[in-house]
Symmetry: C2
Subunit: 414 residues, 2 copies
């Protein structure tokens, strides 16, 4: 009943090695890893050296291997492996969000052409089955928004900032020491990792494929103790939110720090946990919470994809075929900016200012801006400047003629 799978595995880090143990030693699955290809010849590994190969052709040219599991870091190498595997008629499971986000349209065309499955649940929020749910369950036309905490490193740092009163740099260094942050932390703390995941979520939520460069990402590295203090005084928390909403015939998306209230799905998601909330007309909000990264949570998502391929499952991208929506980077939103240098606040043009505060060493401003006035560069080039979204309610965005799910419900049923 289950297809027998003979696997070629690229990468033998913590996820790959966990997967190897499960598949080859447990006998739980009708699948086994035949060949493992790694880059580094000298690294000490948990199983004997003779299991490893260093030439990708050993997998790609082996006709017996019908599934390639790609678990390497390098997005460019992963792209070559994945496209060549698909062209060789092999199914592929990947966890490489960056590679997928940059090449999704091409990869879909390719897997359609070669009639193989290409699954990547592990690329977004580790063990949370969010892609599968968006793809299979929320496949009607009423889905209205997806909001998530999709990066465990930043959520870990923000949780500790809130609880410990230390500075961003102190917590970051400690997180690096403990293995919760990379030595080179840019991908995480500047929101790139979350953005790649969001790009994939938007594709499966709304059927709209945009390039990562069209999605604004503002990270958390400029956060100051005073910002945390401000949030605490107001009963709020600051979380790095990846969000996408349908506004009329448009889809918007962003990754940015956001002040969240106690009733937000995000408020109690702490440390390395991830959560995604999906809103659809009539179903209210669904929250999916779980571990977003790490060896086992990621391996579990890879396992579920492998298991699905045994039953001939593949993403069908039905929404992509039928959607009338377009990705639009233009909307207005309410934000909070702060700086140790009050003059920096003038770098952003507000359409409406609601509050300003200024003291000798800290100033902030709250108000409405056009989204187009914000940019990643602005945040990166001005380390004094902390930028966060500050929604009044959970639906802070405004477009002319917005039809949100509540209006739809009122229209249909009220």
């Amino acid at each position: 009943m289950r297809n027998k799978l003979t696997i070629g595995l690229f990468g033998f880090g913590c996820v790959g090695s966990g997967l190897y143990e499960i598949l080859n030693r447990s006998g739980l699955f009708n699948a086994s890893i035949k060949t493992i290809v790694v880059k580094n010849k000298d690294k000490k590994r948990a199983i004997p050296q003779e299991h490893f190969h260093f030439d990708k052709e050993v997998i790609l040219n082996d006709p017996e291997i019908n599934l390639v599991v790609e678990l390497i870091d390098d997005a460019e190498a992963a792209y070559e492996i994945v496209t060549r595997a698909i062209r060789s008629g092999k199914h592929v499971v990947s966890a490489n969000k960056k590679m997928i986000a940059h090449h999704l349209t091409e990869l879909i065309d390719l897997k359609n052409q070669y009639k193989v499955s290409f699954l990547y649940e592990a690329s977004v929020c580790g063990s949370i089955p969010v892609i599968r749910n968006l793809e299979e369950y929320y496949n009607n036309d009423t889905l209205s928004s997806v909001h998530g905490i999709c990066n465990g490193t930043t959520n870990y740092i923000l949780t500790r900032l809130d609880k410990e009163g230390k500075s961003f740099n102190e917590i970051l260094e400690d997180a690096q020491r403990l293995g919760f942050a990379e030595t080179e932390p840019t991908l995480d703390i500047d929101g790139f990792d979350a953005k790649y995941k969001l790009q994939i979520l938007i594709a499966h939520a709304f059927g709209v494929i945009t390039l990562p460069e069209n999605i604004l990402n503002i990270g958390i590295r400029n956060i100051k103790l005073q910002d945390i203090q401000y949030a605490r005084e107001k009963g709020l928390k600051i979380k790095l939110i990846a969000a996408s909403e349908k506004l009329d015939q448009n889809v918007i998306g962003y990754v940015a720090p956001e002040f969240v209230k106690e009733d937000s799905f995000a408020y109690d998601v702490n440390y390395e946990f991830n959560a995604v909330t999906i809103e659809a007309a009539f179903s209210d909000r669904q929250v999916f919470k779980g571990k977003g990264a790490g060896s086992f949570p990621t391996a579990s998502a890879v396992l579920s994809d492998i298991s699905a391929i045994q039953y001939d499952y593949g993403y069908e991208y039905r929404k992509k075929e039928t959607t009338q929506l377009s990705y639009a980077p233009n909307f207005s939103t309410r934000i909070f900016i702060s700086s140790t240098d009050p003059a920096k606040l003038d770098l952003i043009e507000f359409s409406e200012v609601e509050e300003t505060f200024s003291s000798k060493d800290y100033a902030y401003k709250i108000g409405t801006v056009d989204f187009g006035k914000l940019s990643h560069a602005l945040y990166r080039e001005n380390p004094e400047l902390f930028i966060a979204f500050f929604p009044e309610s959970e639906h802070q965005f405004k477009l002319a003629n917005t039809v949100g799910s509540e209006k739809l419900m009122a229209k249909l049923v009220g």
Copy 2:
């Protein structure tokens, strides 16, 4: 691409009427309701009287109708409608947990024989897509437990008991007045509703189909102010938990009040919300949270089932075909019992007593009992006696030779 569905709808309560509005007025789905059959001829309804029929044969004998949506309360009438619809080659979507729980094996055989889809996501936890996730995503062999708050009425009452310091009867009456509890509340407050849902969850989680009478249900009607007070002093909350765990080659299940700690998935699930947590080796715990009942959440689940049938989706019950597990009602557990009459505490035989407390008007005992010593009758016939599970950790059950997911992980990877 989507199958066109012509629907016969049974029942026009809040769920049915919401569904009608969405399908027939929005044009969002390639599906429309052709005929509505209701029981009560005199009830005032939101749409003109000519839309209604009162004879089920109008739907069952109409060859043009290819999908029956059954949204009535009466389990026996629902059974007849659903089985006759399947035998007429019609797909069926149902929300009738009681009917499904009592007849699941037969219904599966029948839908296989007639090669139709029979879906019932709306029967368990409203808008939370838990059946679909168990069926499709957690289809590997590593799933180890499912715990849920599956009944909104009792969760609403327990939340208010915790916050307001009023008695159970006061809160129940208020809940009835506000529409959060039925006039006849037994199904909810004695745990039957949660038990039917649990029976369905067990089938899709573990492939094991047992009858509802094999699952112990202990409700919340005997809860006293002192019990709430006790929980508060210990930093705990009391929640009605429906749970199933794999213990070696057995599956156990129960519905009972349970003291939960702050780190439990259940602690912050309040009022009418539902949540389910699924534990699988390697994925840690996944939590799914959402609205469990009510017109729109339930209609949203029905909609997703309708949408899935348009794409020829059906539950495949793969685990049922391959499972080596059996349902076992025998295990030992740690419980808390209390009574206004200390003598009543002797009604339950403990294998080990850890704590006893006694005062003039309140006594309690904490310790280990064999599950077989507990019964629904014991709780129903002794209104002074409050019985709750009181786990030391999240895995409180013991069987000889237990292989839990942690051990499995340790064995495989450690």
